[in-house]
Symmetry: C2
Subunit: 686 residues, 2 copies
């Protein structure tokens, strides 16, 4: 990827004296440390540079080429680039897969040419690449926009929408004082995709965090693996979640949108933050890239100039699960020195009355000094009003004081436009996150306190690859629950005790053995809706009832299928555990709460398989209803290790057999804390 990000020489094919061809040339030629060769048969020179009729005609080596020419000329130019030894081509022109069948064919042809030549393709239909601190603008975006970007910024963007690498950057820079490090617009991503770019950025020293806007994740598995191994914070905004959004995504980027819930669940599993808005994406990203990683339960001190804002901060912190720090007696004593006598200091630290006595600057200095020394404080949330007294916020000093103690700091800044802008610029230079809305400020603080990707943590296990038991030959399609549970038991997954029964005598004997009451089920080939079809008989507590239902089922089933008898278990609650082989994310496991409520408001967690118990245990904690596992209302606490092992075993079973496309353990009953699969489905594909 280096030849895209830092090429020594670039051919600009389609450079011209006007419009986008001119902007592209000016931007590229104005970039640092790069030789630029305009290519256009119509001109001999452009903007003071020699213009060549073709790539072949350039009398120098060319490392990268940027194409801004009508789509139909692209294959021919790619052949020329290949012959010239160009390593990477960035196609910024539109008119490819996003325009329909013809465009898709054209795009495929381009990819074939590049693959053949060992060349990488970036785009097409993209805005290219911007590296703000590196001063490289490989993009046709208007130069008057690039002129407004401030030089700082340690957050890099990878975006599947041109707007986000152009107008959006100008908005961030001029309206919010925010600069990015690199912005990579990947367009149709016919070859280079978010994984390639992310991999590069993870190794890029000046990038401290990456925010991605994605409409599709075709190499989802690879993405998740990269994210899990990342040593930098990542945030993703994945669009195309809604039915209508997915439709628009399809026509817009010619790529399929993934399953929203699975995507979200896996991002959470690998410690990636998620956003629902463009600006929020950048706010979360810059907050994460500036703040230190914060342990769970980090305690916050709030320094404010407004009692009301202090109270609201408490509400917002509580919503986000961030505890308010109990200030140490020494800190309270220090604060009392500047507080009026009638007001005992506390947290939130309402500095207004003290500011009226001593002035805003000295009061704030004193308070920051005090909380920086407090062992009960991990994070400081500062509120400030900028409107003439902004010179009194000693940002650099506060940052030093707090950083010395390993404490993070964020600002909520309110005030007059110009002073706030100056403060934002100063804060950006100091690496301190500043936000304009209080709720956003607290949300970003909370994001910094959530577990991040665990680079270098427990490696993922390999699938055992254990073969199926010889007495369990696979059947194509849906396995009946008896067959499915036999296989599950072979992987040591606890499943309810049961026996096939052929006649009444066997049924009675089995019931006596398994223990009354029992459940009798009719298994018909391919039938997955047993309850709805009246094939499940519950509460058989005496032989008479068993006999009656046995006869009834025999009749209903007309000699087909088989009957299975199970011990009836009364669960405290039910879970769903599943396995699926996803086109984008590969083998995955799911854990969810069962029951009707969960069906209306799903409560699920996902992981990639195979997985180890520590990852499975973390899944339990990600359910909204996780508190239930502690033994809610006097129930026996869940045997978490047993459930984690069950999930791991299921993941191993699936990952060891590529033919298994789906497994449903539904329900997994929890009885006296122990998980037990009561029903199961396996789908075996050819």
């Amino acid at each position: 990827m280096e030849f895209f990000f830092d090429p020594s020489s670039v051919a600009v094919v389609g450079a011209s004296p006007e419009r986008t061809g001119k902007s592209l040339l000016l931007n590229t030629a104005g970039s640092r440390d790069v030789a630029v060769y305009p290519v256009n048969p119509k001109y001999q020179d452009l903007e003071g540079l020699t213009c060549y009729p073709s790539v072949a005609a350039i009398p120098h080596p060319v490392e990268m080429a940027i194409l801004l020419v009508p789509a139909r000329f692209t294959p021919q130019i790619l052949e020329e680039c290949a012959a010239k030894g160009v390593r990477g081509v960035m196609i910024q022109s539109a008119g490819f897969a996003e325009t329909g069948e013809d465009g898709r064919e054209l795009q495929a042809k381009c990819v074939a040419i590049a693959r053949q030549a060992g060349m990488r393709l970036w785009g097409p239909n993209c805005m290219g690449l911007v590296d703000v601190p590196g001063n490289k603008y490989f993009t046709f975006m208007s130069p008057n926009i690039t002129g407004v970007l401030p030089p700082h910024g340690n957050l890099s963007l990878v975006v599947q929408s041109g707007m986000l690498s152009a107008g959006f950057l100008a908005d961030l820079a001029t309206r919010r004082g925010i600069a990015v490090n690199k912005a990579c617009s990947i367009g149709n991503k016919c070859d280079v995709d978010e994984c390639d770019v992310l991999e590069y950025l993870l190794g890029d020293d000046t990038t401290k965090g990456v925010a991605l806007y994605l409409e599709s994740m075709p190499r989802g598995r690879r993405f998740m693996e990269l994210a899990e191994g990342a040593s930098k914070p990542l945030v993703v905004l994945k669009s195309g979640r809604s039915a209508s959004g997915a439709k628009a995504a399809l026509s817009h980027t010619a790529s399929l949108a993934g399953n929203a819930r699975l995507t979200q669940g896996l991002l959470q599993a690998v410690g990636v933050g998620t956003a629902r808005d463009f600006h929020q994406l950048v706010d979360l990203g810059r907050s994460l890239s500036l703040l230190p990683e914060i342990p769970a339960g980090a305690r916050v001190a709030v320094l404010t100039f407004s009692g009301g804002a202090g109270i609201l901060s408490c509400d917002l912190l509580e919503d986000n699960g961030l505890p308010l720090a109990e200030l140490a007696p020494a800190t309270l004593g220090e604060l009392a020195k500047v507080f009026p006598v009638w007001m005992p200091p506390g947290n939130p630290v309402d500095l207004w009355p003290a500011m009226e006595l001593h002035g805003p600057g000295p009061t704030l200095d004193h308070a920051v000094q005090a909380v920086s020394q407090d062992p009960n404080v991990d994070l400081v949330l500062l509120h400030t009003f900028l409107g003439g007294t902004q010179d009194q916020v000693n940002l650099a000093r506060y940052k030093e004081l707090l950083a010395d103690q390993g404490k993070g700091m964020v600002f909520w800044a309110l005030g007059l436009d110009q002073p706030v802008k100056e403060f934002e610029t100063q804060a950006q230079a100091e690496g301190v996150p500043v936000f304009g809305e209080l709720a956003r400020t607290v949300d970003c603080l909370a994001a910094a306190a959530r577990p991040r990707a665990r680079a270098g943590a427990v490696p993922r296990p390999q699938a055992s690859g254990n073969p199926l038991p010889t007495d369990l030959p696979p059947t194509l399609g849906v396995w009946d629950e008896y067959q499915a549970k036999r296989l599950l038991r072979a992987w040591e997954i606890p499943a309810v005790a049961e026996e096939l029964v052929e006649d009444l005598e066997q049924a009675r004997a089995a019931a006596d053995k398994l223990g009354w009451p029992v459940v009798l089920k009719g298994l018909l080939p391919g039938e997955v809706h047993k309850s709805e079809k009246g094939l499940v008989c519950l509460n058989l507590d005496i032989p008479d009832k068993l006999e009656r239902e046995f006869q009834r089922l025999k009749k209903v089933m007309e000699g087909q299928g088989s009957l299975v008898l199970q011990a009836q278990r009364k669960p405290d609650y039910e879970l769903i555990v599943g396995y699926l082989k996803d086109a984008q994310f590969g083998p995955c496991v799911m854990l969810g709460m069962g029951g009707v409520t969960a069906e209306l408001e799903p409560d699920v967690a996902f992981e990639m398989a195979p997985l180890d118990p520590s990852r499975a245990l973390a899944m339990l904690g990600r359910l909204r209803m996780a508190r239930r596992f502690d033994g809610f209302r006097g129930e026996t606490p869940l045997n978490r290790e047993a459930l984690a092992q069950l999930i791991c075993s299921l993941g191993d079973l699936g990952a060891s057999h590529a033919n298994i496309s789906q497994v449903d353990l539904n329900p997994v009953a929890v009885c006296q804390g122990e998980p037990l699969a009561l029903d199961a489905n396996i789908i075996w594909e050819a």
Copy 2:
């Protein structure tokens, strides 16, 4: 209240040649149509005005007085004001109830003096009142802040925090191009409170909507009644929800925070929007005050310059339950005229390729014209980039086109700082809401499509006042369930059939009569945890079991209490219906989902009692699980009318008897769609 908002004459007590006393005088004296008399014994004139040694010394009538003097002088000055015939006094000074016991006493003394004299008190500890279009600044906030407020604005603020009526207004004005109509800072609200001010603003012609930031709602019932009758949209940010926040609220405004969930539920019931952040409060408020009221299911057309932003808009609209409009064939035909051939128009309307062909301005004009005529479109969400082409957004024309068809319009504006600011100013003048973040834009659009307060709708019923049945004399404290259900049945609330049983023979006869299986319960005086104490025997399906449990209970209860036998019902699901008499909100009813899940993630709706069936039916719809009532998974749909009637009857029972402090119907079983109280508690207070 008129004498606070539009006084003909104002005495400024505590005017001075410097600091806040000077700001207050300058602001007041600079206000329109008001005679201003500075009062301060130290000076003879101030800022060119004659300064009087006391209120009494002013040789003119004084309608309103503003006090900015040390708190201890206040009672004496109030006496003077009363003698002078002043109608309202605004105490802006601090040093009252917010400072502790002494301050509380001082404040009470002030209230007593005012009440005695028939004078109203505003404050203390407040920033007073700002009326931007009326050009009245009765506040000590710095005049350089008032100078930056633009003159437009139809949203008024009522705030229990000084910051929100000062620095926050400057932030809104200079950073977001937003002005308010009036900002009322009510401080400790010792006399004039949010209800008084709201009532005034509801009658104020220039106020089109009201946003309130409140830390307490001591006259909660009155507030809700005003809100329900309001013909203007209201939005509330209620802080002090968290335990820590409530503590801070207590010390900050010397007022108690209400029950967060009840407050939220009632605000929803009376059609008031709610916010979680200051800026969001204003964004929601201005959106509601500018947009027409939008029917449920309003269909949105999205006009965008970015495919990615179009897709994300779909996601956000779906999250908010707003459907995307299916554009009519005529509209699609119109759009096709400007679209490139390879791109079929759809919704979201991605105008970028068309803009490249025809220029942004003409393309947008054409598209707005087309969707304005589309009968399938109720709302238009426009995305715009301002950076040189902003002159091409014909705001006034678009507004006219859409308003003619009764359609609302909101803008998401991205771009360079200056052009965006100009656009915001223009939009504010045109009355079109503009937002800087896409998610906020959609959230505000969605808020406009939620049911508003229903001014003049169904009036609230009166409590029937029916007396208790003569054979049901009230007992103090907790009633046992048998007694409670007898009273419920007198109010025609369906409760499970049951009989008191004294011996085994009675029990068997009752079971035969009620139908097996039965439930036997032991009722002990004051005992509300029957299940936990082993006093509930379920699944008694044969006489043997009944006998065994009857003997066991008799023994356990040692001759105390009584035994009740009930038919055992197997509910499809369980609800909780409750009544409570709240200190702030008076008689209220609650409806909630039952079960453990709901206990971990409460799903509840509230209303004030007494209430009519239409309000009770609306409660059903406000539960997150409302879909279940339609007959989820083949269950019988809920008899909604029966449940609504049950809720109304319970509300009437409570509202008719002031001694009833609480009623719990828990659970209310839903069996084949019919609600039936299985257990009940009534708490009767002296």
